[in-house]
């Protein structure tokens, strides 16, 4: 096998970089525009959008741990109608394709959000965030039930004129089985994967700082877990895999591409380094020379 190329193809479009800004770490692009950090950004995944406004979880929403970061943002967003007016059609013209992340509390919500987004010319694709809790099944994530993921994908495929990736959760079920269900339902790609459930407890008091207690955990130390999942999923499905999780160095990007990813998302590294895409690309390019 030869080393991976940094030129990629996704859904009929050619990119000179594999790097996508991960959902929830890039807003809707407004802040990146202020800092002008678009170099080597292939695409941007927005914050997750729901049908109705969500104010998000009570603070504190962020806690750093010894080797990573817990977040409990709670899908804060003003609802799809406001998002389309204020964020997507409104202020900023982002110089790269926009992938809008879609979330929901019940199965019907995903395709209803996509129906509204179809009225805007701006999105290039969607990312379906099935990691949120399914209230109807006692709070387990939709992504833990392959049949639910297949139904959601089918409903989105029916109303969408655009490609969409399903963002898988590592927290329940067999990810390969869920990936196949998403593909069967008509998904155009898979994002592997969302954050891992984590919790930090004060051993003196038995309490947690984050009110919801359990939160999403991100860390560069999770890279091998993501590499394994990207490898398992990509050799099973025939649709492209977008790797997400653990990327902090150019070498990590190359490793995920070698494991079978078509594109690589960058999340908490972007929070720390607004020019993460440019920096990671340069590091990867140097390694390839």
């Amino acid at each position: 096998m030869t080393a991976p190329s940094l030129s990629r193809n996704l859904w009929g479009r050619r990119f000179d970089s594999p790097l996508i800004l991960a959902g929830g770490t890039a807003g809707f692009g407004r802040e990146l525009a202020l800092l002008d950090c678009w170099d080597r950004v292939a695409a941007l995944v927005s914050k997750s959008v729901t049908l109705k406004p969500r104010e998000g979880n009570p603070p504190p929403r962020i806690q750093e741990t010894e080797y990573g970061l817990l977040n409990s943002i709670g899908l804060a967003n003003p609802g799809v109608n406001s998002v389309v007016q204020q964020e997507i059609n409104g202020s900023v013209n982002i110089p790269c394709p926009l992938i809008v992340s879609v979330a929901g509390e019940e199965e019907e919500e995903f395709h209803r959000v996509v129906e509204v987004l179809e009225g805007s010319p701006m999105p290039w694709a969607y990312e379906i965030n099935v990691s949120c809790p399914n209230v109807a099944s006692g709070g387990l994530p939709f992504g833990s039930e392959p049949s639910a993921v297949e139904r959601i994908s089918r409903a989105v495929a029916r109303v969408s004129s655009r490609p969409f990736a399903v963002k898988l959760t590592p927290n329940a079920g067999d990810m390969v089985e869920t990936a196949l269900a998403a593909q069967e339902g008509g998904a155009s790609g898979l994002t592997v994967c969302n954050t891992f459930l984590g919790m930090k407890m004060d051993w003196r008091t038995g309490s947690t700082l984050i009110p919801r207690k359990v939160a999403g955990y991100s860390s560069p130390a999770l890279l091998p877990l993501v590499v394994a999942r990207v490898w398992q999923v990509s050799r099973t499905v025939s649709i492209p895999v977008l790797a997400s999780g653990g990327v902090a160095r150019g070498e990590d990007v190359l490793e995920l591409l070698a494991a079978g990813a078509e594109m690589v998302q960058v999340g908490i590294r972007l929070m720390r380094r607004p020019r993460a895409a440019s920096e990671l690309f340069r590091e990867a390019e140097e390694l390839l020379q």
Binding site: E31, P59, R61, L69, A76, L270, R275
Partner: protein, 253 residues
């Protein structure tokens, strides 16, 4: 707009001093750096992967060719930062957020503990020297300030009267001040807000504090309860807010 837009740049550590037990003052060389008082910086405390986020610091003072920060040693991040030697390069994102809404007239600055960092910078930008009420747990924890009418109070009485900074408010006529600028722990800021007669609360600006993820508005981690429901982002909507923009009943952390 009361903000200067940020850049991600490399500064050079110029000096590291323990000015009080547990309180560190660091200066950095960064030619051309500009900031408004109230804006802050996100500093990488280690070039390695951990900790995964930067640490936020208010700009304590601008220097001719750089800036100064003041902080409490209270964890791994601040320990790492304070162990740097002069000459060490440090990655800095800033200045971030908005600054105090500067304007004419007499200002009253009310600060608790490390919340008084940046007061000298702010005072230097005002048209007349402010009155400053400064509270701390002990005399050791009072920050330096020498540009106005300073009144101090400590919880143990080791400097000034014994008490909290809100205990100095009865000696103040709020109507004498155009702006009441407040910074410190949330309970202290709430105490100041509640102590002021409602008719004078429109004068209040607060510099909020919250646990931050990114510091530049993308993650939504630093939510502060907003008046009328929902949240504002401390890092990019603030950190300076008018007192009546916040929901003081819900703001507990």
């Amino acid at each position: 707009m009361n903000r200067i837009l940020p850049d991600d740049f490399i500064a050079e550590t110029a000096s590291v001093r323990r000015i009080r037990p547990g309180i560190v003052c660091m200066t950095f060389s960064a030619p051309g750096f500009r900031s408004l008082p109230g804006q802050f910086l996100e500093i990488e405390v280690s070039p390695g992967p951990f900790p995964v986020t930067r640490r936020p610091f208010t700009v304590n003072r601008l220097l001719p060719e750089g800036f100064e920060i003041l902080f409490d040693l209270r964890g791994r991040g601040t320990e790492l930062l304070s162990s740097l030697s002069p000459g060490s390069p440090v990655r800095v994102l800033g200045p971030l957020g908005n600054g105090w809404r500067l304007g004419p007239g007499k200002w009253l600055l009310v600060g608790g503990g490390m919340g008084c960092a940046g007061f000298s910078f702010l005072a230097g930008e005002l048209e007349e020297p402010p009155t400053v009420l400064m509270g701390a747990s002990t005399a050791d924890r009072l920050l330096p300030f020498d540009d106005g009418d300073l009144r101090v109070i400590t919880e143990d009485g080791s400097s000034g009267p014994r008490g909290r900074v809100t205990d100095l408010l009865p000696g103040i006529e709020p109507g004498d001040y155009r702006v009441v600028a407040v910074c410190g722990p949330v309970p202290m800021m709430r105490g100041v807000w509640l102590s002021l007669p409602p008719g004078h609360r429109r004068r209040v600006q607060v510099s909020a504090e919250s646990r931050m993820g990114c510091g530049w508005g993308v993650c939504g981690g630093c939510a502060v309860p907003a008046a009328g429901g929902g949240y504002v982002k401390c890092c990019s909507d603030g950190p300076v807010f008018a007192g009546d923009e916040l929901d003081w009943d819900r703001w507990t952390v």
